[in-house]
Amino acid sequence: MDPYPPIDTWVVPTGAVAATLARVRGPGERGVESGAFWLGRRAPRCIVDTVVIPSGPGVEERPDCWRVAAEVYGEISRWAGPQGLSLLGILHTHRDRFPARLSPADRTRSVRAPGVLAVVVGHGGRDDDPGVWGWYVFEGDDYRLLDAEERTHRITMPDGAVSVLRASLDGVEEWTLW
């Protein structure tokens, strides 16, 4: 059984976008990078229904990088498995003056599994138009930038709510952002 069934389209509800931006803008205002994981059931048409926000010890938010310790990532994995959820995408921010594009380090120091999205938001998360974000999909042995046409066909953003969770060394729990 293929562990990575092909993905044709990703559905990213507006609630996922809103929750993610609400999370990353605070660190962005402090001049550091941050990010979130997008989870859902992997299928030809997969829906991001859960946003997981790593937080606390084991999460580094620095001007030049956002890093999540393996132990925190492991807690997400341990929680997601029984729910039938997989990692569909990783979003992180870049500061002002840095393009919303994957850096060489972003490409290599991230999850490298077929079909996983990598999304980069510029200006510390203040770019609220997903059309100007960098959207990539992992294929072969690298991330590939989705151009506007492909993005339009393969990524939809309907209205809809998602679960928002906080992940830490202590586990995963619901988190209210507002």
Partner: protein, 105 residues
């Protein structure tokens, strides 16, 4: 089927351990049944192969470890039977990637 094969199978099944290994980006876990004397390194290696990943050192070092009940498995020479005891017949692991950045420049 030879008598030897019959004997091996009849000995293997009663203590067999059902192993699941999950990897967060994947849709399906790695699933295999092992005799209890199987080392955790054997499980880790088979799971990595199934998920198409491998330990490697480029500029950075990439290492995959097994997580068990929220703890990192550090001794992969240990056997399934040694980890689980006599009576447990199934186990879930997580396969977790750890990236150690190399020196810049």
């Amino acid at each position: 089927m030879s008598q030897i094969q019959q004997t091996q199978e009849s000995h293997a099944k009663p203590g067999a351990v059902e192993v699941d290994v999950r990897y967060l980006p994947a849709a399906h876990p790695f699933h295999q049944t092992y005799p209890p004397e199987t080392t955790l390194e054997t499980v880790r290696t088979a799971a990595m192969s199934y998920f198409g990943v491998q330990d490697r050192t480029e500029r950075d070092t990439y290492r995959y470890y097994l997580g068990f009940e929220g703890q990192r498995v550090t001794d992969t020479s240990q056997t399934l039977g040694g980890l689980l005891g006599e009576h447990r017949q199934g186990v879930h692991f997580e396969l977790i990637e750890e990236i150690t950045p190399g020196q810049a420049g």
